[in-house]
Amino acid sequence: MSKENVGIVIVSHSSDVARGTADMVRQMVGDEVPLAWCGGDPDGGLGTSVETILGAIDQAWSQAGVAILVDLGGAETNSEMAIEMQPEERRSRIAICNAPIVEGAVMAATEASGGASLDIVRQTAEELSPG
């Protein structure tokens, strides 16, 4: 059942931020939503990598699609690159949300937990941002 819900991927430059955001989603929303996070470079510093984002997308993959929440710059461009590297049939089912990473992740997951479509999940996360 839970695999029918849109998955959430959290991409931060910091593994602490990414893991903490995922903790908030798990505790506040629950585990009906596939969830994965990635952050930091392999040496433990700040950064994002296309490879780990690809892994997170696989982990949170759902037939309903995946919504990605990002923090700054590279998190977004590397996420875009990761989407481009997906098989074609997956690409249209992955959306990067233009929303604050923590708040957006909780909002998106709440919406996803009710079985909403990827479009609605993204709109809900983006509803937060000022016009």
Binding site: Q27, M28, G30, M107, G114, G115, T124, L128
Partner: protein, 90 residues
């Protein structure tokens, strides 16, 4: 509503998730004259920022409206099951 922190993040998520389990429309207001907001919208519910001791008004319309209202009022009366995660996730 007697919950200590009011309609903040966690209670809002619980209320919204519960509202979404019903097919009927469910609306919420902090005055019996409205404005009424969609109780299934997490952004709007959290946006009410209703503090402790706020009286919440619910209205629902549809096949399961009675069950929805009963369940939502019970959730608020139980202080949103805070401290009892298991019950909330059941």
């Amino acid at each position: 509503m007697t919950h200590a922190v009011g309609l903040h993040a966690r209670p809002s998520v619980k209320l919204t998730k519960l509202a979404k389990t019903f097919g009927c429309t469910v609306e919420l207001a902090i005055s019996n004259e409205g404005p009424w907001i969609d109780a299934k919208s997490i952004v709007k519910v959290m946006g009410t920022k209703a503090p402790k001791d706020t009286v919440l008004f619910f209205r629902a319309s549809g096949d399961d409206e009675d069950a929805a209202l009963t369940a939502l009022v019970e959730l608020v009366e139980r202080d949103f099951d805070e401290g009892s995660e298991e019950a909330a996730n059941a």
